[in-house]
């Protein structure tokens, strides 16, 4: 536009008409999904409107996750038939390469892993993608997974709640030293996520699970669980999250419900499993935040089966019931933790910024100190006698483990946090693996 004469134009009042919208740089992307995202620009009535609508279209195009970058050019219409008030909007896009490889490290709940991945964004031209990942962790865990993701109509977004369909297949090898077993899973799943009063996920998965003893010295109760099982289950997850941040929230609440019905349409694993999670954060004075979490779950084996060790609940560890080792409480057999068919856990935190606020507004914001009290228990629910609340209460209240302490938190990006805590456990029973004094934890979810 350089070299043109300068005019003074009042942009918001000048009536304009967008005559054409060009999208340059499209290769394998199909027209229909692009048209859907950009056609709103044609409805512009003023120049300011053109800019706003173009900007929204750019954001939507970027959210498809198929372009490296998106640029906007607005120019007056040219050609013999051009309207004097006509505009042409051009989106210059650069598609992502059809095949990209990645290698990175990842932190999960108290483990670190190397992840190698191959991505095929926009594989069929409608913002579908195939992601394949291999990871190997320091806990002898390895996994391979292939996932096909397709955004559902009108919800192009992968990262924030929106409708999408995922189809995946995987193989994982995991070691469970606290229970002396090793599990190899091979599975396929298909899941659909959509917003409805929060975010709903419906998932069917079929998993072939192979259990083996980790050592010769594994307890006989664990040895009895060795062998193959097939789980075909329907899972429903419901999340409402109003927190401002999942790792170091300052306000808001989160509610999560997980339910799983195994044994539908085949398989020899049959159970119903429910668990809920609630977290409420409230800001007090001087950037002090009080956070309260509550979790609980229960499962019932169906049709005369008994629950398997790999389906039961476990509790304990530096990110849940602090002051105890990873999955280090509950019923034991010859030194191996057997898990429970019910659990509850609660945590109360008082988060404060670092004392004297070093690095305020910058690096220091990645840190918090906290004081905490956590409590919880694994129990064997008696679901034959459903309405005997006194009995349920007694089972939940007996042998409660608890701990309290202080610690420092460090935020690792937007997905994980690291905690260094000094813990004082209480209520430990014989056999529990207590981790008194300093405990280090890395994780993505926290009690």
């Amino acid at each position: 536009m350089e070299g043109h004469e300068r005019h003074e134009i009042v942009l918001d009042s000048k009536p304009v008409k967008v005559e054409r919208v060009h999208v340059d740089g499209l290769g394998r992307t199909k027209d229909d999904i692009i048209v859907r995202e950009v056609k709103d620009v044609l409805n512009s009535t003023s120049f300011e409107d053109v800019i706003l609508r173009s900007h929204h279209a750019k954001t939507r195009l970027e959210r498809l996750g198929i372009f490296k970058n998106v640029g906007i050019f607005i120019d007056t219409s040219k050609g013999p038939e051009a309207d004097p008030n006509g505009l042409e909007v051009t989106f210059e896009v650069k598609e992502l390469r059809p095949l990209t490889g990645t290698a990175n490290t990842m932190v999960g709940n108290n483990e670190g892993s190397m992840v190698f991945g191959v991505r095929m964004p926009n594989i069929f031209g409608r913002a579908e993608k195939v992601v394949s990942e291999y990871s190997y962790s320091n806990k002898q865990r390895s996994s391979f997974a292939v996932t096909f993701m397709k955004p559902l109509h009108g919800n192009p977004d992968y990262s924030t709640p929106g409708g999408r369909l995922n189809i995946s297949g995987w193989k994982t090898v995991r070691h469970f030293p606290w229970s002396s077993y090793r599990e190899v899973d091979r599975g396929v799943a298909s899941e659909i996520t959509f917003p409805l009063l929060g975010q709903q996920t419906l998932r069917w998965e079929g998993v072939w699970r192979e259990l083996g003893c980790l050592t010769r010295m594994a307890s006989f109760a664990v040895r009895e669980q060795a062998g193959h099982s097939l789980k075909s289950s329907l899972k429903h997850t419901y999340v409402v999250d109003s927190r401002d941040d999942p790792i170091l929230p300052t306000k808001g609440a989160m509610f999560k419900l997980n339910q799983e019905l195994a044994g539908i349409a085949g398989g020899d694993v049959k159970f119903l499993k429910e668990d809920v999670e609630l977290q409420v954060n409230k800001e007090l004075v001087w950037d002090t935040i009080v956070s309260c979490s509550l979790r609980g779950g229960i499962m019932k084996p169906l049709k005369g089966t008994s629950s398997r060790i790999n389906d039961r609940f476990f509790l304990g560890g530096p990110t849940t019931l602090r002051g105890f080792d990873m999955h280090g409480i509950g019923p034991k057999s010859e030194g191996d933790f057997m898990g429970g068919e019910g659990f509850w856990a609660a945590g109360l935190h008082l988060y404060t910024p670092l004392p004297f606020r070093p690095g305020k507004g910058g690096f220091g914001e990645l840190f918090r100190t906290h004081m905490f009290v956590t409590a919880g228990n694994l129990f064997q629910p008696n679901l034959e006698d459903m309405y005997n609340y006194r009995d349920h209460w007694a089972r939940m209240a007996s042998d409660v483990r608890w701990s309290y302490g202080v610690g420092v938190l460090f935020r690792l990006g937007r997905i994980a946090r690291l905690e260094l805590n000094y813990c004082i456990p209480g209520g430990a029973r014989t056999g529990d693996k207590v981790s008194e004094s300093v405990q280090l934890g890395v994780g993505v979810t926290f009690l």
Binding site: C213, M217, E224, A226, G227, H228, L230, D268
Partner: protein, 273 residues
């Protein structure tokens, strides 16, 4: 290495303890077993031979034990092969380790043999496991008719679809690879029958008209031979060629009848568990 060390530690520790009361022998489901559905007919020719040999040996030693049937016996076993013995805190699988374990408890049937006899017995043990054991594996998993009509359906019977098909083919593939490594996979069925015949001939000659292979009394060789021959004679297969080979040797048949009568039928009249 660690398992060798663990074994050594176990052997040392258990020598000091007597035979426990609660010894259980875990093995896969057989047909017509009490308390099981008819559809669960899991155990196969090779596994049944090993299970029967161990049962026979324990009977010969006069040691009390209880047989426990589990569909996942193969996966529970530390070596991945049934049967296995649970004695107090110890879990021991397969014939040889079980015989060794029993001898650490002070029960041995081969102590009474002199050195040359012991060496001879070891040679026959190797012959029997090497020939009859591999022949059973070959017929179960490498003969297409037997594999498709008997072995795969039985092996997969405890599992739901589609795991049953998958696991049966995986097992077949594993066994075939094992036999390839041993040079058995390339044999023809006729060659396998010849091997079995040669083995039976050798056994029949050694046995003569005696009740046991050694004049001092029953040994682990008798238990092992009984396990294999009795299983071959009584397991219905697609055709009877294998059993017919054994039936040629009347002294081996008599040997099986005698052992069955002495160590199984007589015991069963006693307190049964």
């Amino acid at each position: 290495m660690s398992s060798l060390l663990a074994d050594a530690a176990i052997v040392q520790k258990m020598a000091s303890e007597p035979w426990p009361d609660d010894v259980c022998l875990y093995q896969p489901y057989k047909s017509n077993e009490v308390g099981t559905a008819d559809s669960v007919q899991q155990v196969l020719l090779p596994d049944n031979a090993q299970c029967l040999a161990v049962q026979c040996y324990l009977q010969m030693c006069g040691l009390p034990f209880r047989t426990v049937l589990r569909t996942n016996a193969e996966h529970m076993s530390p070596s991945g092969k049934p049967p296995f013995l649970r004695a107090g805190p110890y879990v021991i699988s397969e014939v040889d380790p079980i015989i060794k374990f029993v001898s650490t408890k002070g029960h041995s049937l081969s102590d009474k043999l002199d050195r040359p006899q012991q060496a001879e017995m070891k040679a026959y043990l190797a012959l029997v496991q090497g020939t009859l054991g591999n022949a059973e594996l070959y017929i179960s998993w490498c003969d297409p008719t037997t594999a498709s009509e008997i072995s795969r359906p039985r092996y997969s019977s405890p599992y739901p679809w589609p795991l049953n098909t998958l696991l049966a083919y995986r097992k077949q593939w594993d066994v075939q690879n094992q036999l390839k490594a041993l040079g058995w996979y390339s044999k023809t069925l006729e060659e396998v029958y010849d091997e079995v015949d040669n083995c039976c001939k050798a056994l029949a000659q050694r046995l003569g008209n005696h009740h046991y292979f050694f004049k001092q009394g029953p040994t682990e060789l008798d238990a092992l031979v009984f396990g294999h021959l009795y299983t071959i004679l009584t397991t219905p297969l697609t055709d009877n060629s294998l059993a017919d080979i054994v039936k040629e040797y009347s002294n081996l048949i008599n040997f099986c009848r005698h052992i069955e009568k002495k160590f199984f039928e007589e015991r069963e009249r006693g307190p049964k568990d």
